[in-house]
């Protein structure tokens, strides 16, 4: 199964008063991960939109293991657990680069829908093949 690895730096903007990354901001990193694994497979989210298709998150889960902190470099490892008829389950590991420790793990389920009707739409064979399934 395909994996995407993307690195990011933690800035003040990502942190909170507790001195660590604010818990909601890990979901922004999940977005980066799934966008980049699709791009790596040759698919740009703008292309989907031009075809009238969007892929909103219908479910998210995250377990926080250790706090990521200001100035850390973190690695987002994204894999695809499952491709259904019209949905994809993405798994994410957020790793602190300096010591390779996992700081958070989670998943999202994204459903491909027609932008106008908001009805689910079948994932194309092209995308399915490109994602290695």
């Amino acid at each position: 199964m395909k994996t995407n690895t993307t690195e990011l730096r933690v800035y003040y903007a990502d942190t909170d008063h507790g001195g660590v990354v604010y818990y909601a901001n890990y979901l922004k990193w999940f977005e980066v991960g799934r966008t980049e694994i699709l791009r790596q497979a040759g698919f740009d989210c703008n292309d989907f939109e031009k075809q009238g298709v969007i892929a909103p998150v219908v479910e998210v889960h995250c377990s926080y293991k250790q706090p990521a902190k200001y100035n850390d470099i973190i690695t987002i490892k994204t894999t695809i657990e499952n491709i259904g008829n019209s949905s994809i389950k993405f798994n994410y590991k957020i790793i602190r680069k300096s010591d390779n420790e996992s700081v958070a793990e989670g998943y999202t389920v994204n459903v491909f829908v027609n932008k106008e009707t908001m009805k689910s739409t079948k994932i194309t064979d092209n995308l399915r093949k490109a994602l290695g399934n």
Copy 2:
């Protein structure tokens, strides 16, 4: 079991390019909900901190039912599902006020820890009673 109800308005700041509230921002509303149910019970998060105790989220889950949109008034309904030795499980319903439809539901597990050692600490009887358990 105690319930807290807090209303908020959706601004541009909360939304994304898809025309709806960005999925990570629901977690900000979960934070509002658990802060306000604690305040309603007489506990201010600043007081915990002065006692050297913080309550980070160790787990979050959210199911997205319908999109909340710009200018909507949303209602955050927070309840407490369970109080363990050192953790609380909060449940959240995000409701669109105009038609009372559920837009999202989720939970967080928060663990009370000593701010210095980051070891878990027992929830006090005062807090337990105030939360109705």
Copy 3:
């Protein structure tokens, strides 16, 4: 000249690793202020959009006086300094409610434009009158 006063609570989501509100988040409060002074005058930003008009910020300035902190209640005081042919200059004061101290002051210039052409469009007499000018 009309004034709008809106109160908000500071949550973890608004703060950063320095223990204070992150400097970009004051601009979210400016958005709240200008949206609410328009609403108070009977104008809802959704109505403008339905007429094909949006009012993006073309310029912002903010001076930071004192840090707003977690759990503070802050007051956003918004006034209108000037209404041009197609632009409005809004002034904002962010005040800490507990001691009435100014924590930040700033302004934005918003230009009314046609959403399709992005050309500037004249402010209607209705809006001009409602804003007291």
Copy 4:
């Protein structure tokens, strides 16, 4: 005078309901710019903090020229306009990489202060030399 150039991708997280980058988020890019120009000169903000020094923004200005959009790659060009006794004025240009158009320009004034007393502190000769002044 030294210049730092840093590239970033625009994600959904950065955008708003208007289909463009939310105006407050440009200030996050300004933070990236000034952090990276300091890092390039050999100074890590974590090092300042260990010495008890922080450098909060006391003033920000931004002019918005054209909207940055979802999936754009933007270039942050940061220069230092002036180094005072205890403050630095940073200039920023945000450029859309695809056509080299300026999307926004602005500046911040950052004051170096002692973290405990919040009194301003002299910028060291080391930092002044490294920043090329």
